[in-house]
């Protein structure tokens, strides 16, 4: 068995040290070792997007990242965007639009949508659909997911305008 390597990283704004085998994926370490099971495991080979997390501002499939690769980097998972009270606007809009059915893809979609809105606060429907192409949902036909993301974007823009 390969010996474990220490890794220091910021996960959800907290400095974390953990030990992992070089062959372990970030997804495996998040779920099995750090008990962050909000990041869901789907295909485990980069096709479904259920394990989407944000790594140093980049949207990644955590099943395709080795845990040792996050040394010195910052990871945000679904647990990291959920406020202590209430919900993130994307989570709220997913609920309001019934954008989740079985829900296994929902955390991944929400992380992917967050990465989009961080870059582009005013996406068109076409841009939302293209951006979410890496996240598979088999239940909803995507209609309500797209509506939720567009609605969340609009709310975010309005609230930023108020702050200004």
């Amino acid at each position: 068995m390969p010996s474990k390597i220490p890794v220091n990283a910021i996960i959800n704004n907290e400095l974390i040290q953990f030990y992992c085998e070089p062959r372990q994926s970030l997804l495996e370490v998040l779920r099995d070792d750090l008990n962050l099971t909000g990041t869901k495991q789907g295909c485990n080979n980069g096709n479904c997007g259920a394990c989407s997390v944000i790594l140093d501002g980049m949207l990644v499939n955590s099943c395709l990242v080795l845990a040792v690769e996050i040394e010195g980097k910052s990871v945000t998972t679904i647990e990291g965007i959920t406020p202590k009270e209430g919900l993130h606007i994307l989570q709220q809009k997913f609920l309001e639009h019934n954008a989740q059915q079985c829900g296994i893809c929902a955390p991944g979609f929400i992380m992917a949508a967050k990465a989009l809105l961080d870059r582009n606060p005013d996406p068109t429907e076409e841009q939302v659909r293209r951006w979410l192409a890496g996240n598979l949902c088999r239940c909803t036909g995507y209609v309500k997911i797209v509506q939720a993301v567009l609605d969340a974007a609009s709310c975010l823009r309005n609230s930023t305008q108020v702050e200004r």
Binding site: K40, G46, I78, Q101, I110, L132, L136, R138
Partner: protein
């Protein structure tokens, strides 16, 4: 309480609802968007071991030997099992007769015994301290195979000279067993009138043949199971399933453990669509747990395993012949359906045969269905099992009849569409149904008459039928002192049935949906309940919930009558209000007053008659790229009769999701095999389900023709709309570029070839 089988006819005239028909947010869904919802795949127990399964690299081979010694010696490996570790079922199988065969098939599917029958067939399983060690150990298991020629194609499998997959299989020929070894497991038939005579009365007859590929349910959460076989003989199972009782019963039979020692826990399920009724991993995890010294063992399939080794739907070969007179009346129809069952008998060909012509009033019918084994994974249910392929064939032929007769396709369906009192294929008569309403509603959609805006665009329509399901359900309810109600049922909630059940109880009791908290109980805590299949939960479990609601009201009336010292008939309940003498109380007021000293809880089990079948009519616009054969869906409207939409937003989601799966079935999805019978596209990269940019914003249109067999008119909503899309899209492609597609999927390569053959390629 006594088990009941409600069958009273319900009168839905002028029924007004307060809760049903609204779309409240289920607070429990917050866990799904924060990631806190616990799915089978999230199960983690102290001291847990990880399992992995060795699978056959051959499509058809004899197992000569399995040597596990080297794997067992590996550090970290705690147990290795093969089929030799299963209990000997010979006695049970013989005593069960016909059903014994299916127990044998199920056991053989979970771990191959003498032969492997498909690429990916499980051969052995390992439990180890980490998944990586378990996976490495698989490579140390030495299996010697002797290849046998495989047969993966359905028509080849039916040929006399084909390799025989099960030497003891004999065709069940309309109820009688034939004598010769074969791959044809059964032949079913529906017949009425005189088709030959009917065709002679037709002015147009269209006869076509169709092929459809194997497709998979494509859920995102793979099959997984965690089992703890305690030293005290108790077996606990956490898994991703549509039915906890079904898992309990299957595991009990396969491992010969009495059901009372098995407890199955329901969890959130990351998609199922019919694919999570049968067990695959649960018996393996249980045996590994026992053999490793009663440690919990968790096994998770890879998606490669999901595609190669769990049940997809049948590939099929279908011939259809339909005739109509010059007024557009169908005079006769025949269908010949061959469905690939996979490695063991049991495709949904009989269901397909019963549903294919069900939307139409046809006096002269002959339908033959054949269940055929091939060297592919054992097929399972997939949303309205087997019907999409059959309806694809029927509705494409109808489109051609309409073209030849120059009749509007919706008018044609109105002329021939069934109404209340007409006879079904299975001999029963239709009660109140909503097919004509779906047609009228479709005609009135702005979509149906909107102009198409470009070249190579076309519009298609198709209808379809699904029988919906009933089955057994149990519910228990207890009143809290604040007047809220805790409701438990045995129905696993796949996509929101906890809410639709809360709403039905709230409607019955005159309280708010939010006042009812609904959970799915494990197998020790609730009466027997069938799995969540056949769009049955809002119907059957809805009945159970309605019954416990009525029992609660009755019990409160009795308590009130005792307390106020009035005859029971002077305590009335109507529209959510109890009238006691001249005083009025809400449910909550009375409940908190009458349940403090004596708690009030009730339970019931039902198996209701009165299942209401569903119809749908879909309209689709497509644009075909004649250079590449690519089809773009421009606009989609799905009209479906659901009886009554308890939670319309959920129902819309069901329709949109079903249509999207139908679009995948129509255009992309397909199992591809090489000549040795190995599946080649075993990931979601190559087995391509629709992504967000592949589909348009699908418009669901809900029609409500209440089901007289349910207190609130429910028929079921989940499955129907997967049926019409392949046909509607094929008909739209014809309208766009003039080619009739008779093969699914209508992938770019196939469509391009068809366009070239037609000579339409623009140089």
């Amino acid at each position: 309480m006594i088990a009941r089988a409600p069958s009273r006819k319900q009168n839905h005239k002028d029924k007004k609802f307060r809760v049903i028909g609204t779309s409240p947010i289920r607070s429990g869904d917050i866990d799904k968007v924060t990631g806190q919802a616990i799915y089978g795949i999230d199960t983690h127990l102290p001291g847990m071991l990880y399992g992995a399964v060795l699978r056959s690299p051959h499509a058809h081979a004899r197992i000569l030997s399995i040597n596990c010694l080297e794997a067992e010696m590996m550090p970290g490996v705690k147990a290795v099992i093969t089929s030799a570790d299963f209990p000997d079922l010979t006695k049970q199988i013989i005593s069960l007769g016909e059903e014994g065969a299916s127990l044998q098939y199920q056991t053989d599917n979970i771990l191959a015994r003498d032969k492997v029958l498909y690429y990916g067939h499980a051969v052995a399983a390992v439990a180890a301290t980490s998944l990586h060690i378990a996976t490495e150990a698989l490579q140390k298991i030495n299996v010697t195979y002797e290849d046998i020629p495989p047969v993966v194609d359905i028509r080849k499998a039916m040929d006399g000279g084909a390799p025989v997959i099960h030497s003891n299989l004999r065709t069940d020929e309309l109820g009688k067993k034939s004598n010769n070894p074969t791959n044809i497991a059964s032949h079913v038939q529906f017949k009425s009138g005189n088709p030959e005579k009917g065709f002679s009365q037709a002015s147009v007859v269209v006869e076509r043949e169709f092929n459809t590929a194997t497709v998979h349910q494509g859920y995102i959460e793979p099959q997984n199971a965690t089992a703890l076989f305690s030293a005290n003989g108790q077996l606990s199972i956490w898994c991703s399933t549509q039915g906890v009782f079904s898992v309990r019963d299957q595991v009990s039979e396969i491992l010969q453990i009495p059901v009372k020692y098995i407890r199955v826990y329901p969890l959130e399920v990351g998609g199922a669509f019919g694919g999570k009724n049968r067990v695959y991993l649960e018996p393996l995890a249980a045996l590994l747990s026992k053999k490793s010294g009663h440690k919990p063992v968790k096994i998770v399939m890879s998606h490669n395993e999901v595609l190669t080794a769990t049940g997809p739907t049948s590939a099929s070969y279908i011939q259809i012949k339909m005739g109509a007179d010059n007024k557009g009346q169908i005079t006769a129809a025949t269908a010949w359906l061959a469905y690939a069952a996979g490695a063991f008998p049991g495709s949904s060909v009989e269901t397909a045969a019963a549903c294919i012509f069900a939307p139409y009033r046809i006096d002269n019918i002959l339908i033959d269905g054949y269940d055929v084994v091939v060297n592919r994974p054992w097929t399972a249910s997939y949303r309205a099992p087997g019907v999409s392929n059959a309806v694809f064939a029927c509705e494409v032929v109808i489109d051609e009849l309409c073209e030849r007769l120059a009749i509007d396709p919706l008018d044609f369906r109105c002329i021939n569409g069934v109404k209340e009192g007409d006879q079904r294929t299975n001999g029963l008569r239709y009660d109140r149904i909503g097919f004509q309403e779906t047609l009228e509603t479709a005609k009135n959609q702005p979509h149906y008459t909107a102009p198409l805006l470009g070249p190579h665009q076309g519009r298609g329509v198709a209808s379809g039928f699904w029988s919906n399901g009933g089955g057994r359900s149990s519910a228990s309810a207890s009143i809290n002192l604040d007047g809220t109600v805790n409701l438990a049922t045995g129905s696993v909630d796949l996509t929101g049935t906890r809410m639709s059940l809360s709403m039905q109880l709230a409607e019955t009791l005159g309280i708010q949906a939010d006042d009812v908290r609904t959970s799915t109980a494990d197998t020790d805590f609730i009466g027997y309940t069938d799995g969540t299949w056949g769009s049955r939960t809002s119907f059957s479990t809805g009945w159970a919930v309605y019954e416990v609601g009525r029992q609660l009201i009755y019990a409160l009336r009795k308590r009130a009558a005792d307390l106020w010292q009035l005859p029971l008939k002077h305590v009335k309940f109507s529209e959510g209000i109890f009238t006691i003498g001249n005083q009025k109380f809400t449910f909550k007021e009375l409940a908190s007053r009458l349940c403090e000293d004596y708690p009030l809880s009730v339970n019931t089990s039902v198996s209701p008659d009165g299942v209401g079948p569903a119809f749908a009519t879909h309209i689709v616009d497509v644009e075909v790229d004649p250079e590449t054969g690519q089809v773009k869906i421009l606009r989609y409207t799905a009209v479906q009769d659901v009886g009554k939409a308890i939670h319309p937003a959920y129902v819309e989601g069901q329709i949109q999701g079903a249509v999207t799966q139908g679009i995948g079935w129509a255009l992309n999805e397909e199992y591809i095999y090489d000549e040795a019978g190995r599946m080649l596209n075993t990931s979601y990269l190559d087995y391509r389900i629709p992504t967000c940019p592949d589909v348009p914003s699908i418009t669901p249109v809900i029609v409500e023709a209440p089901n007289p067999g349910h207190p609130y008119g429910v028929r079921g909503a989940g499955e129907m709309s997967i049926v019409p899309p392949p046909a509607a899209i094929a008909n739209a492609i014809h309208a766009a570029v003039g080619v009739r597609m008779n093969t699914l999927p209508m992938s770019p390569a196939r469509l391009l070839e068809a366009i070239w053959n037609k000579g339409l390629h623009s140089d």
